[in-house]
């Protein structure tokens, strides 16, 4: 299995959010501050990797008919663990993510990877797939949350660096709209558009080189 190729797929060419368009609910809902984005991204990264390992390990003993139910039980167990750990050690994050933390269970990225990748591949490949797909998801969350926090409320790193973050844009200027649900839809729309533009451009370039 080619690790470099998997890395590129997870982050760019087969990015879970921007190319496969999975897990959009949480992407749009919680990216109002860098703190939330980072916390959610890392939670999903950990859960995705662990569930990928378990699912690829048990894939041969699970009957085909009940595999989806098995996947969901495995994922739900890890989500519960992470949920309880965050409640105990980082209660602020747990409060900020709210209902979206238990909802990682139905995040299509995790179930999607289980069905599309882990059910057909070995443990090692699935582990790396989990890490890279999780990184791809985290990267998108970070870009969106930094953008929305900076231009929506004019601060950076609220909750991470200091309780209110560093104020970069004076209070009267930021477009408050970006922190509202509207901003989530429009930001993600533009991000996917940029991604499609870049992908078609690089595809055209390689086609040109090949035709030469």
């Amino acid at each position: 299995m080619n690790i470099g190729k998997q890395f590129k797929e997870g982050l760019i060419t087969n990015n879970p959010v921007l190319v496969q368009v999975l897990g959009t609910c949480s992407t749009m809902a919680i990216t109002t501050s860098f703190f939330n984005g980072l916390g959610m991204g890392l939670s999903v990264l950990i859960i995705l990797t662990l569930s990928n390992i378990i699912i690829s390990a048990i894939r041969k003993i699970v009957p085909d008919k009940i595999r989806i139910a098995m996947f969901i039980v495995v994922i739900a167990c890890f989500v519960t663990c992470v949920d309880l750990l965050l409640q105990a050690f980082i209660p602020d994050l747990s409060k900020a993510l709210g209902v979206f933390l238990p909802l990682i269970v139905v995040n299509c990225i995790i179930l999607g990877r289980a069905e599309a990748f882990c059910y057909k591949n070995g443990v090692v490949a699935s582990t790396f797939d989990g890490i890279f797909q999780g990184l791809g998801y985290t990267a998108v969350l970070m870009v969106m949350s930094v953008f929305r926090e900076l231009f929506g409320s004019g601060t950076f790193g609220a909750g991470v660096i200091s309780p209110d973050g560093i104020r970069i844009i004076p209070e009267q200027f930021p477009a408050k709209l970006l922190t509202l649900p509207v901003g989530g839809f429009i930001c993600l729309g533009f991000l996917i558009a940029i991604m499609q533009w870049a992908l078609t451009k690089s595809k055209n370039k390689t086609e040109k080189e090949e035709s030469k």
């Binding site: 368009v21 999975l22 949480s26 909802l103 839809f185």
Partner: protein
């Protein structure tokens, strides 16, 4: 609990705190199954039905099993299993008794299990301390809000085909921006409290 409180819950779930436009629950089917108006209507009705039923069943399970035996930490696992079983049961029931509806819904029926609006409504009912009737009303009206949103969105999206936009916005981006503008118009309902 009175009629007015139930009405304010329903108003909130359908318009003010619409599941899609202000809470981002159920976005995946919302974006995936809204290319055609008739499938969108079918999906919306199926989701409404499952959400109402799931609210009732999860409330009972939570109250009489999880709370009584002090197993609240198992909430997520139990709820998702209950929902999965429920969807499977509805699928079998429809297949036997209403085959025409079953074929119309097709692949969307099993997909409802992974719709975050269904698990979301179950968790929100517990979080908001709703009584049994309030939970069921919240589930059904939340589903109606989803139906309203997906039908409006599908109708707009069908007309998007004739719009002139940059080529890289093809597919999801233009849909998301449409949804964003619809969310903006739904913001007009915030602060609406006729019966509150």
């Amino acid at each position: 609990m009175s009629i007015t409180s139930l009405l304010s819950i329903s108003m909130g779930a359908i318009l003010v705190n619409n599941f899609i436009f202000s809470q981002f629950l159920g976005c995946c089917p919302f974006l995936g199954v809204s290319k055609k108006l008739d499938t969108a209507v079918g999906m919306g009705i199926a989701v409404t039905f499952v959400m109402g039923l799931a609210s009732a069943v999860t409330w009972i399970v939570n109250q009489f099993i999880l709370v009584r035996f002090d197993l609240l930490y198992m909430q997520t696992v139990v709820f998702i299993l209950v929902i999965a079983a429920l969807v499977q049961f509805i699928e079998m029931f429809l297949q036997k008794s209403m085959p025409s509806l079953y074929t119309a819904l097709g692949i969307y029926l099993p997909l409802i299990t992974t719709n975050c609006a269904v698990l979301g409504v179950a968790l929100l009912n517990i979080q908001n301390n709703y009584s049994f009737i309030e939970s069921v009303v919240y589930g059904i009206t939340g589903g109606l809000g989803f139906l309203l949103a997906i039908v409006l969105f599908a109708a707009v999206r069908e007309r998007n085909v004739f719009a002139d936009y940059p080529k890289c916005f093809d597919g999801f981006p233009i849909a998301l921006i449409t949804a964003g503008l619809m969310a903006l118009s739904f913001m007009g309902f915030s602060g609406l409290s006729v019966w509150g």
